[in-house]
């Protein structure tokens, strides 16, 4: 054997980030056969190895799957043409209560047929995020719901992705060969800040694409990045400690060598640093050509510091993320490895700019769900790099908190049921529960986006749920109910004294400190929800309002004024239409308001009724409007027309002054 050629790979691995780690955790629980060889590195080196298999142990959960049903769907492309061979992934929300379902969905391959049709069969009861992926295409998420349940059908749209292509040359005009080139989205096509990908499923399919490897310049210096979503991009060449998405396990695991440009600071198109980088516009399915980069041999500067507050055993690996201030894009990730008592970290080759640094530590196994994976996160520290190295950045890890409890569906009497039309029976496992922080999202939190994705959960068949991975602060449960026959009647916290009354968990949310594990939440869901559909027209004519508006249902019974769960709100569609579902029966005022926070995505919108001031102003306005509607059990009101007349009072909704 030739000793030189038989060396094990001296691997380097670029940009392992949060979700790659998550994927790694998941994969690591799955690659039973790969780990079959785990014995060898340790015990077999001196002696010739006998081959044995080690099964990767994880949670010994003996959960018999309950038959649910199937979700059927279709994948279409431009001109509603069917897309064949798209990979379909269904990610369940009940990862925490049933990690096996995640594994199953990940490895049971489903792809669309020649008509674009697919069927995800044998799904357990639950709520699923469904995504489709095909190399070079992007999934449009405008036309699909966030969650689907067995028995429902889904249409997914894949559109041809955009392309950025160009040539990288050095200062003397020669091609730069084998340099990593990255396209970093800095704004969405609608000019708004970059939105988080909708869900884990998209993250996974993105990462699968990245398994093919990073985009690199070829022997002529030419690169071609494809499958891009429409939007505004910066393009950077060189630098290994680059961008969040796009680690490549296969390369990291097999490649013994690092590239010549990997330890440089990146050069941004056209030949600059981040601040003066030119933006490249990518239109849906279009090609941005001649995005040529003149490569500079930038050294950059380093940012270093220490991490404290990890578990006493010091055995958990810590990742440290550096994000750009302002837009929260992950610029670099590094790791603190346990034995280093001082837990130091350093980012090399950074360009001048404003950054945030955040540390995160994890231990345990994802297959144990929210309880099994212990994650700590540090508050983000601002850092400015300006022509010199930055040292002494101190990060203190704090364990994340969780909320656990039980959900139940309150049965209604047979007589009450008879009032209602037969609807599809809904199950507890189909309820999606997540927690939303009170505070506004800060850009630097974007690096922790995975946590917010893992937060969504569903109860198990007994109704038990745990919402984990919550940062300190005030959180509220956010429930998405299956179908429109259910409404939430109460959310309570356990009483403070044994004989006390349960506490309303909705009025002011649940305050969580670092490491808190709040238990005993009770979510009561009732059958017989009402629905209200209608349209808002402006006073003078019957045109829909031109301004962005929301409609609010405000409880009209005096005793219900402080019941947050009796307030409902919805955005108006372009034609002024609205649809409010899962409503508790009762009397309501109907209020329409112009809203100012247009930049906020609907998913990030904080209900006005969450704070007392908001409730008060809504009640005041409702009382004045005298638009009252009474909804009885199971009633579906349609064609309700609201004419909007601006009040003399300022119409800006009273946003919470703090945070």
């Amino acid at each position: 054997m030739n000793a030189l050629s038989q060396k094990p790979p001296k691997t380097n691995c670029r940009n392992v980030t949060m979700h790659e780690i998550a994927i790694g955790i998941i994969l690591s629980t799955l690659f039973v056969s790969a780990i079959a060889n785990a014995q060898q590195p340790q015990s077999e080196k001196p002696a010739a190895g006998d081959r044995r298999e080690v099964q990767q142990p994880t949670a010994a959960q003996e959960k018999k799957p309950q038959a649910g049903g199937s979700i059927k769907g279709r994948v279409i492309g431009e001109g509603n043409r069917p897309v064949a061979d798209a990979s379909i992934m269904a990610i369940p929300t009940n990862i925490a209560s049933n990690p096996q379902s995640m594994v199953t969905s990940f490895f049971r391959p489903v792809s669309s047929d020649a008509d674009g049709k697919f069927e995800l069969s044998g799904l357990q009861w639950g709520a699923y995020r469904i995504s489709a992926s095909a190399a070079g295409y992007v999934l449009s998420d405008s036309d699909s719901k966030p969650y689907y349940r067995p028995g429902e059908s889904v249409t997914l749209t894949l559109a041809k992705g955009g392309v950025i292509t160009g040539r990288v040359t050095n200062l003397s005009g020669d091609p730069v060969v084998g340099a990593v080139v990255r396209a970093i989205k800095v704004r969405e096509a609608d000019n708004k800040p970059v939105r988080l990908r909708r869900d884990l499923a998209s993250e996974f399919t993105d990462s699968i694409g990245s398994l093919l490897g990073p985009y690199k310049t070829d022997d002529r210096g030419i690169y071609r990045i494809y499958g891009l979503e429409a939007g505004y991009y910066q393009v950077a060449a060189g630098g290994r400690r680059g961008q969040g998405t796009g680690v490549n396990y296969s390369e990291a695991l097999s490649s013994p060598r690092s590239g010549a440009y990997d330890s440089d600071a990146p050069t941004y198109f056209p030949s600059s640093t981040i601040d003066t980088a030119a933006e490249v516009t990518v239109r849906a399915g279009d090609e941005a050509t001649n995005i040529d980069i003149r490569y500079r041999d930038n050294r950059g500067h380093s940012v270093s510091g220490t991490v404290s507050g990890s578990k006493a055993s010091g055995q958990d690996g810590i990742s440290v993320m550096l994000t750009r201030a302002g837009n929260g894009l992950v610029e670099a990730t590094t790791y603190v490895l346990p034995p280093q008592k001082e837990k130091g970290f350093a980012f090399e080759a950074l360009l001048d700019g404003e950054y945030f640094v955040t540390a995160m530590a994890g231990s345990g196994s994802m297959t144990d769900g929210a309880d099994g994976l212990n994650i700590s996160v540090s508050p983000s520290r601002p850092v400015t790099v300006s022509g010199a190295d930055v040292t002494g950045v101190e990060l203190a890890l704090e364990p994340l908190a969780s909320m656990a409890g039980r959900a139940l569906i309150e049965p209604i009497s047979a007589a009450q049921k008879a009032e209602c039309k037969a609807t599809r029976p809904a199950r507890l496992e189909e309820v999606v529960i997540s927690a939303r922080g009170e505070g506004n999202k800060k850009p630097e939190d974007q690096s922790l986006s995975l946590l917010s994705m893992l937060k969504d959960t569903s109860p198990n068949e007994k109704g038990e749920f745990t919402v984990g991975f919550l940062r300190p602060g005030v959180h509220r449960l956010d429930l998405q109910l299956p179908g429109d026959s259910l409404y939430i009647s109460t959310v309570t916290l356990p009483p403070l004294t044994p004989d006390g009354k349960p506490i309303d968990g909705t009025k002011s949310g649940v305050k969580l400190n670092s490491g808190d594990k709040v238990k005993g939440l009770v979510v009561t869901i009732s059958e017989g929800a009402a629905g209200l559909r209608g349209k808002v027209v402006t006073g003078k004519d019957t045109n829909p309002p031109s301004e962005k508006m929301r409609v609010y249902l405000v409880p009209a019974e005096p005793e219900a004024g402080e019941d947050v769960l009796r307030y409902f709100e919805s955005e108006l569609a372009a034609d002024g239409g609205f649809s409010l579902t899962s409503l508790a029966p009762g009397k309501y005022w109907l209020v329409a308001r112009v809203v100012s926070d247009q930049d906020q995505a609907e998913a990030d919108h904080k209900p006005l009724a969450w704070d007392a001031g908001g409730r008060m102003s809504l009640r005041f306005e409702g009382e004045a409007s005298k638009k009252i509607v009474e909804l009885s059990r199971c009633q579906r009101v349609t064609g309700f027309v609201v004419s909007y007349t601006p009040l003399v009072r300022p119409s800006k909704p009273g946003r919470k002054p703090t945070q």
Binding site: L4, P8, S33, A38, A60, G213, Y215, D219, N374
Partner: protein
Amino acid sequence: MRSLTRIAIFLALLFGIQSLSLAQDPKETSTITGRVLLDGKPAQGVLVMASPSVTDPEKIVEQMLKPPASLKAATDSDGRYRFEALPAGKYNIMPSAPTLVSADPGAFAKELNITEGAAIEGIDFSLSRGGVITGKITDSEERPVIAEAISLKLVDGTKPAGSYSRPEGRMYHTDDRGVYRIYALAPGRYIVSAGSSRDPMSSLLAKRPKRVQTYYPGVTDEARSKPVEVIAGAEASGVDIKLGVADKGFSVNGRVLIAETGTPIANAMVAYRTRPREGSLEQSNREDSFSVPGGMTTTNAKGEFRLDSVEPGNYKLEVHSMTGVGEFYADPFNFEVQSGNIDKLEIKVHLGASISGVVGFDSADAANAFDTSTPFVLIAIPDARMGSTAAGRVAADRSFKIGGLKAGKIKIQSLPHGSQKFSVVRIERNGVEQFDGIDIQTNEQITEVRVVVVEANCVIRGRVTIQGGALSPDSEVSVWARPLNSTIRSSHRTVDVDAKGNFVIEGLAPGDYEVEASVSSQGPGTRRRVSAKQQVTVTPDTPAQTSLILDLGAKGSDK
């Protein structure tokens, strides 16, 4: 070795990363000089890189997560390069010349062990220009096939020469126009094909149907393919392949059930493996004949599974419990796909024997140090080579159960690389120590087993001294510790030796060990190995100190 690395990172991610050796204190620096020739003439402006190198599996993980910066030196007009001020350590030296190939077959990077203050000369590289193959992959309707993997097989010419680029990024995949461009190829004749991934991992994850391998210029029979000639510095273009319409392989379905009762097994992982393609550039050097993962799925509630897009060939099917915990074992199962779908395979598994009990401690300190919230995994290792290892996780009440065992003698140890640093020292059954492992009969359910563990917090420090000659720069010294007094066969621990000859072996249970150092060096056609051993006793309070002398002058064993 590749799988080793992969496992290392998986384990690291799953169980947390274990302690890494801290022996590093390089002060004095060294120099390396050499010359780079292109087609026999001095090559100017070629970057030569020196990348720190490690072999310790734990350090490989460290390096994956924190790639060390490489040092660069450019060649002058005479093709000469020089690294100044290199800290002592192990390095891979190689030119970074992505379009060039090595004229020296087999030699990729040169790995050097640089001692303090050394001045190493003559690390030369001989390069020649590589060639390019480029073309377009389309489907039967002339549409581009995106992200399709391209495979190359060298049919003649010189032995595959090391290229000085890695498979660059997506070089072996088509882009959104179906276009691929592979450069830095050694001159020779290549068979070009498309249709299956080079990398098992990505084919496993990208769940689209795999197509049957189609060879240039568009045939599925390799014997009828037309090799493409690659000439140094030239481009072979228009190497287009049109994939067939129905080339999507076949489906294989079946059921996993318990042999004795016929009960279906739900949520079992079903995976199939195949042999590496012969002669392919990506062929692995592993001897395991079924080493390439083909695909994976899970069984539904009725125990049924379906594997799609299976190419014709011979396969081995494996069934595991999804949790990885020993629950059953499967009979060996091979199948062949010829020219049609395979229906209704019946994969029989057996619940087998089991061992259950609790984890115990000899001291209150150890019991206190044991953190029940951190995963701790026991593995049952059969004595017979046939048996497969099964695992069981220790519950919060410290109980465990390992099932799916075959009859035979079973030893129990803790999972290496776990985040709980505890080692098994003793196994008791009904209060009686099982010196030699536990004898287990077919389907026997053994309970009341006590697995006594101690904190593996001991350290051996030592130094390897070289006598009777100088080490050649490419030689590698390795050191490991083997427990002597334990009847439980626990792991060897292998570590790296630093430039000064120092080493640290951590995470050992107290006890007696044999420490062995060895060095391998390469002669013409032979591999010579010199080793030295020493016995040490380690306790938690005092690190054991050892000193090993490797006498290069002594007659070593030729291998």
